[in-house]
């Protein structure tokens, strides 16, 4: 094992983790194009690596969020039923698809994510002062450090959020992404969960969803431990740096740059 690829993978993981944490994502959307386009790693291996890295960042982030009380544990567990089911189907599908097909699907999804990042900026937060009686059984509350107040909320329209979570789980198993880009807006816009609680709950769920798809990749022999280990450590360190940077950097101002980077990566992957 030589120093060059080791440092390069760790550095790539750290950059992906930093960018992911800045934008509230797992980092897989940046890590997979880096592994495929820069290090020329086959798509199946890149996805298996991303799954391992996503579990690392999700577990580390969830440990902090659970302690802060921002995670709605019961809602997360309920949604995990459908995300695990989706991941299982995604993992099985990925094992029969060729690497080139997965690359094209991933590239198209990158374009969709870029579009979603632009569109999400225009949505306003619904259910600010919710007085409806439904959704009480999954209600939650947390202390918002920025606003310095307790935030209480109820969960509405659960079937719609479950349907989106099923798709997110499927994407996780198929392409090694956390799926937070779909779950967070769904929880926020469809179920009226405050953004911080939605992001924390989505991150909490990602570990179990990714682990569900991971064993299929592992049993197929797609995991390159010389790539997965430094990438996971890099993403872990990068996500910690990203969380600190997010306190001083405005994510909105850098979002546009990342949208362009993702779109360019998508085009390059489509042309491969």
């Amino acid at each position: 094992m030589s120093a060059g690829p080791l440092i390069c993978t760790m550095l790539g993981g750290a950059i992906a983790g930093t960018l992911g944490a800045l934008l509230g994502l797992g980092g897989g959307v940046f890590l997979i194009p880096f592994l495929v386009l820069v290090l020329d790693i086959p798509m199946h291996q890149a996805i298996a690596t991303s799954i391992v890295a996503v579990i690392a960042t999700s577990s580390a982030g969830a440990a902090m969020n659970v302690e802060r009380g921002t995670v709605n544990i019961r809602l997360g567990m309920l949604l995990e039923i459908v995300t695990v089911l989706g991941a299982l189907a995604g993992g099985i599908t990925a094992s029969v698809l060729q690497g080139v097909v997965l690359t094209k699907i991933f590239a198209v999804l990158l374009l969709v994510i870029s579009g979603a990042m632009v569109v999400n900026r225009r949505f306003a937060a619904p259910h600010q002062h919710d007085t409806r009686k439904e959704g009480l059984w999954l209600s939650g509350e947390f202390y918002d450090e920025a606003a310095k107040e307790m935030v209480s909320y109820r969960v509405h329209n659960l079937p719609a959020t479950m349907a989106v979570s099923l798709v997110a789980g499927n994407i996780s198993g198929l392409l090694g992404l956390g799926g937070g880009i779909f779950k967070v807006p769904a929880m926020h816009l469809l179920s009226g969960i405050p953004m911080k609680a939605a992001a924390a709950t989505s991150n909490f769920m990602i570990g179990v969803t990714a682990a569900a798809g991971a064993f299929i990749y592992l049993s197929e022999g797609h995991l390159n431990v010389h790539v997965a280990a430094p990438a996971a450590l890099g993403v872990l360190a990068g996500s910690m740096l990203g969380v600190r940077l997010s306190r001083v950097l405005r994510a909105e101002s850098v979002k546009i740059v990342f949208v362009v980077v993702l779109a360019l990566a998508a085009v390059q992957l489509l042309m491969r």
Binding site: M1, L6, S59, E80, A212, L218, S219, A232
Partner: protein
Amino acid sequence: MNVQNHQAERWISLTLRIGVITSALLLSAGLVVEFLRPHAASPLVDPLAILKAALSRQETPPGITLLSAGILILMFTPIVRVIAALGTFILEKDRPFAFVAVIVLTMFMLELLISLA
């Protein structure tokens, strides 16, 4: 937020922390060992098979064994978290959500069986 809820959150958080730290230490140690090994074997492995071989005292490269153990601990950390949540739901006598945790665990075991098959 009641005291029981706070207790549950502490247990779940602790489970996740222990898993991530243990895994990171094993992965770091494994990378150092692999880096010092002059002719590393093929790194495309199934960690489950490597660990099974190591436990049955078959000869496996120590670096790959450490990396496989680190990756497996990382992958099982969220599952141990579900078990921790199940334990706290049972203690809280929250039967519906204890049942939800059992469903998640059952589906995961099913997935593990499919992978092993």
